[in-house]
Symmetry: C2
Subunit: 487 residues, 2 copies
């Protein structure tokens, strides 16, 4: 084995990654295409493309079917994903025993972005990509979205664009390479490899691709449903190091005033010295809660899932809550016509994901929730302060009992407190027109520092430290921090 493995070329890690990321995050000017031009280009792409997504009964889906015992809904090849059933038992939250359908996709997927330095600035190669579930058809996706089967070429189909840059490990330097979780309430322990690489040689730019700075991507995240979830999760893993000195240098460099929300957020990102709690203390908090909460998930045949009804046109909860699994026939007509059938998840409600932030000891802290979700890889993940569906708004019990919901809804109507507020889509390959409101609120000094036991204040620097390691921040928290702009 030693000999076999040592023959594999080792990839190189870029030592300047943090500085390249920082400079790119502070840059919104782009000689290739201004942010306005990118928006125009996306609109043009949207006009050119013809997407039809038609609901069809499961029995009419090509290549997809329930197995004979109705254990799961799966593709005839055994690939892609399947809709399975699970029973969940936990001592967290008001409901402690339930069944549900869940997406089972055990392979680790790849979400990869190629970057390249032009004139000292790092640019990200994003794709204007159509997914059947997208609210507005075309969104900005990573350079590469591939399943492990694509990646390792088990299936001998056409290989995805730019795949070689990721598989030939001598070709690029690595800037970031992390495993990150998917939606815990919808996916069973699904994870993706989030990877950013840097090319040195010239790259052919295909029709649907464009170069953007990190500052531009963050600018575009300020607009509803432009940057897709896959791009947001890759971006969320970027950290900029610990060196506060460099902030000052960089801010002088780009000639900014030093008292904007952006500067204060960047200070929270770069300052490793000041925080309400130490890293070890946060680990203690999380260890305590992982010990306190149980999460027992057992596979169930779909037909046995309590409270859910399987019909030919959907799998739905008996009270029409949570989500439905539907079948769709998709046709995308652009230069070539492509069509396929697939199951997809349709949410019954929009949701809200909100961080409350507050300056503590002069540094912005985020109020983080330890949240149990059924598909979590390890019981708990770090979630936004509030993460719930909007039907809870009108429910006075939820408003009273769900911590911070009432505060978020009150502060979110106050323009002064809101520093980020957009609608963001879930991944359009699995979720049908699902969008959630992403909000970050800056609370006043008199907002209480004391929290219920499963909440804790963390700086952006600390969130980024935990985010580096496996399965700490959930995808909703990552979507929010990806949107934080320093400009």
């Amino acid at each position: 084995m030693a000999n076999r493995l040592s023959a594999v070329p080792q990839s190189k890690f870029c030592r300047d990654a943090q500085l390249l990321f920082l400079r790119s995050a502070l840059t919104v000017e782009n000689p290739f295409n201004s942010t306005q031009q990118v928006l125009g280009w996306l609109q043009e792409r949207n006009r050119q493309v013809k997407v039809s997504v038609d609901r069809i009964p499961f029995s009419r889906m090509s290549s997809w079917a329930f197995d004979a015992e109705r254990r799961r809904l799966a593709h005839s090849s055994g690939s892609f994903f399947s809709i399975d059933g699970i029973n969940v038992q936990t001592n967290a939250g008001p409901v402690q025993d339930w069944d549900q359908p869940i997406i089972n996709q055990p392979e680790i997927g790849y979400l990869g972005v190629i970057t390249k330095v032009f004139n000292g600035t790092l640019y990200f190669l994003l794709q204007a990509k159509i997914e059947p579930g997208n609210v507005n058809n075309v969104q900005l996706s990573p350079t590469l979205q591939a399943t492990k089967s694509n990646y390792t070429r088990i299936h001998k189909g056409k290989s995805p664009n730019y795949l070689d840059y990721f598989t030939d490990r001598r070709r690029c330097e690595i800037l970031l390479d992390q495993l990150q979780s998917d939606q815990g309430a919808r996916f069973l322990k699904k994870r993706n490899r989030n990877i950013i690489i840097k090319a040195d040689a010239d790259i052919e730019i295909l029709d649907d691709f464009c170069w953007l700075t990190l500052g531009q991507i963050k600018e575009l995240m300020g607009i509803d449903n432009v940057v897709n979830m896959d791009t947001r999760t890759v971006i969320s893993g970027i950290s900029y190091g610990n060196h506060l000195d460099e902030t000052v240098r960089f801010y002088n460099l780009v000639n900014r005033s030093s008292d904007t929300v952006g500067t204060r957020l960047l200070a929270s990102e770069l300052n490793a010295e000041v925080a309400l709690h130490t890293t070890d203390e946060i680990i203690h908090w999380f260890t305590h809660l992982k010990t306190r909460y149980d999460l027992l998930v057992r596979p169930l045949p779909l037909k046995s899932v309590r409270d859910w009804i399987i019909e030919d046109d959907c799998i739905r909860h008996k009270d029409e809550k949570f989500f439905r699994v539907i079948g769709v026939h998709v046709e995308i007509a652009n230069r070539e016509v492509t069509g396929w059938d697939q199951p997809i998840i349709e949410p019954m409600n929009e949701g809200i994901c909100a961080f409350i932030a507050k300056e503590i000891k002069g540094v912005i802290h985020f109020l983080v929730q330890a949240k149990v979700e059924s598909g979590n890889f390890d019981i708990l993940e770090m979630a936004p302060t509030v993460q719930c569906i909007t039907s809870s708004y009108d429910n006075t019990t939820s408003r009273r009992t769900l911590p911070y919901l009432s505060e978020v809804l009150t502060l979110a109507t106050d323009g002064k407190s809101v520093i980020y507020d957009t609608l963001q889509s879930e991944e359009g390959g699995r979720f049908y027109r699902e969008q959630n409101r992403n909000v970050i609120i800056m609370a006043d000094d008199d907002f209480p520092e004391e929290t219920p036991e499963n909440y804790i204040w963390m700086t952006l620097n600390q969130l980024k430290i935990f985010n580096k390691f496996n399965n700490y921040l959930n995808i909703q928290a990552r979507s929010l921090i990806a949107g934080i702009s320093f400009t």
Copy 2:
């Protein structure tokens, strides 16, 4: 829920933990009991106690039995643990599909140590504890070893000694609190909460307990089978911060020469600036391998486990390899007589766990292996350079193909290179007289820096960073780094 949770008192984290640990690690003088006195006391305890462990057939075990379908061997209460079967499929290593029995103990156990400061030095309260599988009966254990059922008092039996110090969260400060894995080849995703707390009030010292400095514990780890695995894993999680300046100050304080192996190891522990690879680069390495390797573990009824034979007196591999599950009747006579029956794992071989270390860029680095084991929580953990059973020694194929085995066996006979070499026991509550040779070898400058793909060089500081987060270092690696002494 908010109200219920906010009523729970929050524990306090000690801000001086790292300095207290460092000072204690550098202290081997103890006015309560010198290390020699502790050894004498352990011998005395060993003389006083009468332990009989008799092998009995499974059919004669009280409270333990196979279920009707021979799916598992379990306790009649459903508590403690069970011996289950699993099928393992992986693309790592030469054997890619096998069945095996495994210990299933899904609850998170507690391994807790109480500490207290006397005259500025932190002392650890350890227990001279008998376990049925211990090679020499009495070993130094943590203050508390408890299952979650003990801890939460679901079972209404006598509560373990000193439990209240851990459950009453206002009583002590927290110094360390981490989830750590158990043996991946023997336990199915088992984890323990490793916790160190600091008491301020006076503590009654029970008969079998004594106060030791961290330096003394490390001294005792230099002797075969004195410090049990539970103590070693708790100790392994201790880090001392990043401040190299303080080393100098402390070394002046304790008046040491500055060019011993101990000083150089402490420099590797405290130096966060110099390393062959950055943390992000190590995360990339691990992400790449987690994506490359599959580990699919499915539960199997014991009776269906291929290549294993279930007889009334043991469960054994058809070629007498790996381990046997046997039944024992245990009687421990001390002040009171206690007796019980239980299954226990008897290894067929001793093993060797060895780190190769080498000075790179002036700082000692350890050669870490990414290792797939069947019960791993997340595919891979970071393991010693070599971790294998001793029967591989005489096997020329293993010697040739298992990376670094040949180098370790050669260097381990060279007294000059060996900086640590002891026999250490596995946990005596589950493993019957299992001991493994723990070796750390300092390689010369001409030892190759290049490694096969699933090996990487890390400083002690980096090992400690990964060890803080869940399921990075495996228990064999932790046992080795726990034994590293700076004195």
